[in-house]
């Protein structure tokens, strides 16, 4: 989407982005481009300064305070579990514990280290957010849980976006049996509520997944083996919706002038798809993916809460809630901590998604 393209503007995907309001000048060029060629040359200088629709949308997003705060919160919650443990395991001196002898912060700040003589403690200098019912550090477990949420969300989103775009574009562009298949598939998925399918799948194959995937280093360690199955289940239930959005957008794009122009100038279908359709799906995919990440994080937490996701001694926001559920009367903090963090994440993602939609798809606003 370079401004250099203005001369061949009918072919350029940046010219008529149906989703973002084009600046008046570009609309004019797109519509009357053919006749206005002489004037266009004269306006070249001015043209270079006018922002592309994408930059326009970014500017709108930056002005949306709620969305920017939410973005900041999300970045914090992404960086915390990645870099937090590296620092946290080096803070504090060695401690003599009756059960495990002399231990360094690398041990007692580990999310899996059980310290039976310091159960259910409140926040302190040694345990910043306190400990759980078996004396594990809650801050460390929270960071580990966040890491799980993010990893699952990332894995699911990669599958969701790839499958959603591929199937959605094929269905929208070519129609025919692939379109029919997608329609039937989404029908089934609507009848089979996503999480119910995930419960069924993880409920039946959970134990097998534990034994198979636990052999994989890092991913399979610490009770996380089943997450591969969880991610698979969540991805399978989310991509049809993404494909539906993409299909709808592709149907619209197909009728646009720049696609028609590309076709008349002999561009092949593959090239039309890769150069003119897919780049224009950006906004709808990013909006749908942001809103979907929230669903995925809830899904993973929910499955882990029901005992179908991360297995002990692993940690996940859902598992933390489940572990502390019997302690609501005596130690409400332990159940509130993961719940509040999950609430903040879900709300931030929802505000960010709304902000993205307002910025990239202004027409959807009332």
């Amino acid at each position: 989407m370079d401004t250099k393209d203005t001369n061949t503007d009918l072919n350029s995907p940046g010219a008529v982005v149906p989703d973002a309001a084009p600046s008046p000048m570009q609309t004019e060029l797109a519509i009357e481009g053919g006749e206005e060629v002489p004037i266009l040359g004269g306006q070249e200088k001015e043209q270079k300064k006018s922002p592309t629709p994408f930059q326009d949308s970014l500017r709108r997003l930056r002005r949306d305070k709620r969305a920017m705060v939410s973005l900041g919160i999300m970045i914090f919650f992404i960086l915390l579990p990645i870099f937090g443990p590296l620092i946290y395991t080096h803070i504090g001196g060695t401690v003599v514990s009756p059960t495990s002898g002399t231990i360094s912060p690398a041990a007692y700040h580990s999310p899996f280290h059980v310290e039976l003589d310091s159960q259910d403690q409140g926040p302190s200098a040694q345990y910043w957010l306190g400990t759980d019912a078996v004396g594990r550090d809650l801050f460390a477990r929270l960071m580990q849980g966040l890491l799980i949420s993010i990893s699952v969300a990332l894995a699911v989103e990669v599958v969701d976006v790839l499958l959603g775009i591929t199937i959605g574009v094929l269905a929208g562009f070519y129609g025919g049996w692939i379109d029919q298949l997608l329609a039937r598939f989404t029908d089934i998925m609507f009848a089979f509520p996503g999480l119910l399918f995930a419960i069924l799948l993880t409920g039946i194959f959970g134990y097998q997944a534990d034994t198979i995937f636990s052999k994989i280093p890092i991913i399979g360690a610490n009770g996380n083996a089943r997450l591969i199955l969880v991610s698979l289940a969540l991805a399978m239930t989310t991509w049809p919706l993404m494909a539906r959005y993409v299909r709808g957008q592709t149907l619209q794009l197909k009728e646009q002038q720049f696609v028609e122009a590309a076709r008349t100038s002999g561009t092949s279908n593959t090239q039309i798809i890769s150069r003119h359709i897919v780049p224009n799906l950006f906004s709808i995919v990013i909006i749908a993916a942001t809103l979907n990440i929230s669903g995925t994080i809830i899904g993973e937490a929910g499955l882990s809460f029901l005992g179908l996701g991360v297995q002990p001694p692993g940690s996940s926001l859902g598992l933390m809630i489940n572990d502390a559920l019997d302690l609501t009367q005596t130690h409400p903090w332990e159940v509130l901590l993961p719940s509040i963090v999950l609430t903040i994440i879900v709300l931030a993602l929802s505000f960010l998604g709304d902000g993205l939609r307002d910025a990239f798809d202004p027409r959807s606003k009332d």
């Binding site: 089934i188 009848a191 069924l200 039946i204 134990y207 809630i321 609501t328 879900v346």
Partner: protein
């Protein structure tokens, strides 16, 4: 209209077939030999073969699927793998009315609280009432059921602790009975359970109502001097219902899922709780039956929403 309904009905039958097939095939492919597990140390080849035959596990998969389907029509979900000789329906039967009660209340509140709130907010668009209710419903809708339930439970427990009231946070009371002690058990779970979908319905009905109020026919109705109440309830409301009816089926899905979490958190002995227990027992027929029941509930909901659609949108009848 008949053609529309027939087309939808065929679509739904197809969906039911697929959903039952998915459920069946997952159970069919399930790892481990349930009969071996059942027999444990009492294993001997003759009983093993007998039991396999009794459970129909020696048949080829398509015959097993056929039996599975025929069974479903008779509310026969087969036999439990975990409790020898107990029918799945027998295991689910104590929980079924409880979950059903929860579901009916959830649906009832979604419609009876969600829609009026949305219309109320739409009629006071851009006032503080509107902002407050919509803000609250946005938060309610975004929150997962189990997190909301945890917050409510902690709140109740702390109120109990502070005032000495003994408001329960676990259990259910008697099915379909509403004495004061039953209400104490049921109020919080039902409200939390319904919160997500009525919050969404409130937002949706506000949007559609606002849209309808901008239409020409509403302006015409006002111009010819109809009372505001008639304009809103006779002209606007019915049109605003159309999009609500279409998402109705979708929301049954949310309610079905909610059962698992609400029952776990509030210790309610419904089928959601039974299914979670069955998962740790690896009692696949029970898990399958719960999934099928949930999916069929959603399909039925879609059918109802199609029927309602013909009521609220007369254009379909004309076609």
């Amino acid at each position: 209209m008949l053609q529309f309904l027939l087309k939808r009905l065929i679509g739904l039958i197809f969906v039911v077939l697929c959903v039952t097939f998915i459920t069946f095939i997952l159970g069919y492919l399930a790892p481990g030999d349930p009969i071996k597990t059942l027999l444990g140390s009492h294993f001997d080849p003759i009983t093993y073969a007998q039991l396999r035959h009794q459970y129909g596990l020696d048949l080829p998969w398509y015959q097993q699927y056929y039996n599975f389907l025929v069974g479903l029509f008779h509310f026969d979900f087969g036999y439990s793998f975990h409790y020898q000789g107990r029918a799945v329906l027998d295991i689910l039967s104590s929980g079924l009315p409880i979950s059903l009660e929860l579901g009916v209340w959830g649906l009832f509140l979604t419609i009876l609280i969600g829609i009026p709130i949305g219309i109320f907010a739409a009629l006071r668009a851009n006032t503080w009432v509107d902002t407050a209710t919509m803000g609250a419903s946005l938060v309610l809708y975004a929150l997962p059921t189990f997190v909301l339930a945890v917050f409510v439970q902690v709140l109740i427990v702390s109120i109990d602790g502070g005032t000495g009231v003994n408001w329960p946070v676990a259990g259910w009371g008697n099915n379909w009975q509403y004495t004061w002690s039953d209400i104490q058990f049921k109020l919080a779970p039902i409200l939390v359970y319904a919160a997500i979908s009525f919050a969404y319905f409130a937002r949706l009905s506000r949007t559609t109502m606002l849209e309808v109020l901008r239409q020409d026919y509403v302006r015409t109705a006002r111009a010819k001097g109809l009372r505001e109440r008639v304009v809103i309830y006779k002209h606007a409301f019915r049109n605003a219902m159309i999009p609500l009816v279409t998402v109705f089926g979708l929301f049954l899905g949310l309610l079905v899922i909610g059962v698992f979490f609400i029952e776990r958190i509030f210790n309610i002995p419904g089928i959601g709780a039974t299914a979670i227990q069955a998962i740790s027992d690896r009692d696949y027929p029970v898990i399958q039956a719960t999934a099928v029941l949930g999916a069929v509930a959603v399909v039925l909901g879609n059918l109802i929403s199609d029927l309602l659609y013909t009521v609220v949108d007369p254009r379909i009848k004309a076609e």
